[in-house]
């Protein structure tokens, strides 16, 4: 073994401090994961309620048309990309970007606006040469639901200004802390196909149907977009926990190997020294 003891001791020290850092990062992101996970769980009933209501109302009110509800594909779409502000979260960011490129090829519409959430999107857009219309921070999983609403409000204003008539999102839906595969979903126009097996209900509308639909869809757009951002944030934290766990485990494994190597070299040195003494002594007695 050509390596000397001092180099190995230094390597052991480095590995120890690296594993301390990764362990600390793991704890931090685990705490943030819990927070964002709670946000996801708390906002889901509202999200599902609004989505269901949109379908009920669209299904029951004949002749009610709304641009945000049309069944046709939009002509002029915005794509929201939800990634992280920072790296060190395994393949999370790159998986999102890969899915985004795929989506840009596959989508049946022209994507005119690219909206990024997370600083990493800006760097990526620059390298692939795509212009970014707007960028929001992902807050590294520290923001509240109100901060995520700012993205939703911005998207709402694009729609009301007529900058786009459809919204798609590439993000990693939060399924569990182990599974978060990026997906592409259409947010606007909304799904309004009838729910199978449900009887048509004649609703009363208060105030009138058109106004009500407006009020409902404004909320629907907001909740759809903010849900996407919240779920992305939770997935990012989950990915970071996984990456940091793997890094800590790797560091532990490396430590074990290094310590074994250090012991062997030390033993070798001792053996050599003893051998020298013994052979010296032997030489003297032989004389």
């Amino acid at each position: 073994m050509p390596e000397d003891l001092r180099t190995i001791r230094r390597k052991i020290r480095t590995t120890t401090s690296v594993s301390q850092i990764t362990r600390a990062m793991k704890m931090v992101s685990a705490a943030r994961l819990r927070r964002t996970q709670q946000l996801v769980e708390k906002s889901r009933p509202y999200w599902e309620g609004i989505r269901r209501l949109v379908r009920y109302v669209a299904g029951s009110s004949d002749g009610l048309k709304h641009p945000l509800l049309s069944a046709e594909e939009p002509t002029n779409a915005a794509l929201i990309l939800v990634a992280g502000d920072r790296g060190l979260c395994g393949s999370y960011n790159s998986l999102v970007f890969r899915r985004a490129l795929q989506a840009l090829h596959e989508l049946p519409v022209k994507v005119n606006m690219l909206v990024g959430v997370g600083q990493r999107v800006a760097a990526w857009a620059k390298t692939v040469g795509l212009p970014l219309y707007d960028l929001f921070p992902a807050y590294g999983g520290q923001a509240s639901d109100q901060t995520y609403l700012t993205v939703a409000r911005a998207v709402r204003s694009y729609l009301s200004q007529g900058l786009c008539d459809g919204v798609y999102a590439v993000y990693a839906p939060y399924v569990s802390s182990l599974q978060n595969i990026p997906d592409c979903r259409r947010l606007v126009p909304m799904e309004c196909d009838e729910i199978p097996g449900r009887e048509q209900v004649q609703y009363l509308f208060e105030p009138d149907p058109a106004e009500l639909l407006d009020a409902l869809l404004v909320r629907a757009v907001e909740v759809e977009v903010s849900q996407v951002v919240i779920e992305g944030a939770a997935s990012e934290q989950a990915a970071r926990v996984a990456a940091m766990t793997a890094a800590s485990d790797n560091a532990d494994e490396m430590m074990e190997e290094l310590v074994r190597l250090r012991n062997r070299i030390r033993q070798q040195q001792i053996t050599t020294e003893i051998l020298e003494i013994v052979s010296g002594a032997d030489a003297i007695t032989a004389e």
Binding site: G49, I50, L53, D145, L204, E206, A215
Partner: protein, 141 residues
């Protein structure tokens, strides 16, 4: 005929209320709306104010602040209130509501001169604050 029905009040921050009730009074865009069991299917937009819920077999009324949302009444499902923002009257911080009322009023007054102020958001903040104060005062007169 049972007089109670299931009511769910849901906000972005989770399910606020999920129980059998006898009567619920809600603020709608042109006044107040009362819902009892067997109400006709209805979808309504809510305005700001307070929601009063009466549970079966009791005269006690549970109050919630409400700053807009959507109400859904149908035969098959629980009556659902999807609230933009709201909380139980007991959870309202009156001091904070008063402070944000002041701030919102100041911003609205300034909006005509200052272009950077988002009037829509300031108005929403004012309505939120007023709804909280109103609900709190009803609960603790």
């Amino acid at each position: 005929m049972p007089t109670a029905f299931a009511l769910r009040i849901i906000t972005r921050n989770g399910v606020l209320f999920d129980r059998q009730v006898e009567h619920v009074r809600l603020p709608v865009t042109d006044g107040t709306l009362g819902v009892m069991a067997y109400h006709a299917p209805l979808v309504a937009e809510l305005s700001y104010g307070s929601i009063a819920v009466r549970q079966p077999g009791s005269d006690k009324v549970t109050l919630f602040s409400c700053t807009g949302g959507v109400l859904h009444v149908s035969r098959e499902e629980p009556v659902t209130v999807l609230l933009d923002a709201g909380e139980r009257a007991e959870d309202i911080d009156l001091e904070r509501a008063r402070v944000s009322e002041e701030r919102a009023r100041a911003r609205i007054a300034q909006a005509s001169r200052d272009q950077s102020i988002d009037l829509e958001r300031a108005t929403a903040a004012l309505e939120r604050a007023l709804a909280r104060e109103e609900t709190y005062q009803k609960r603790f007169p």
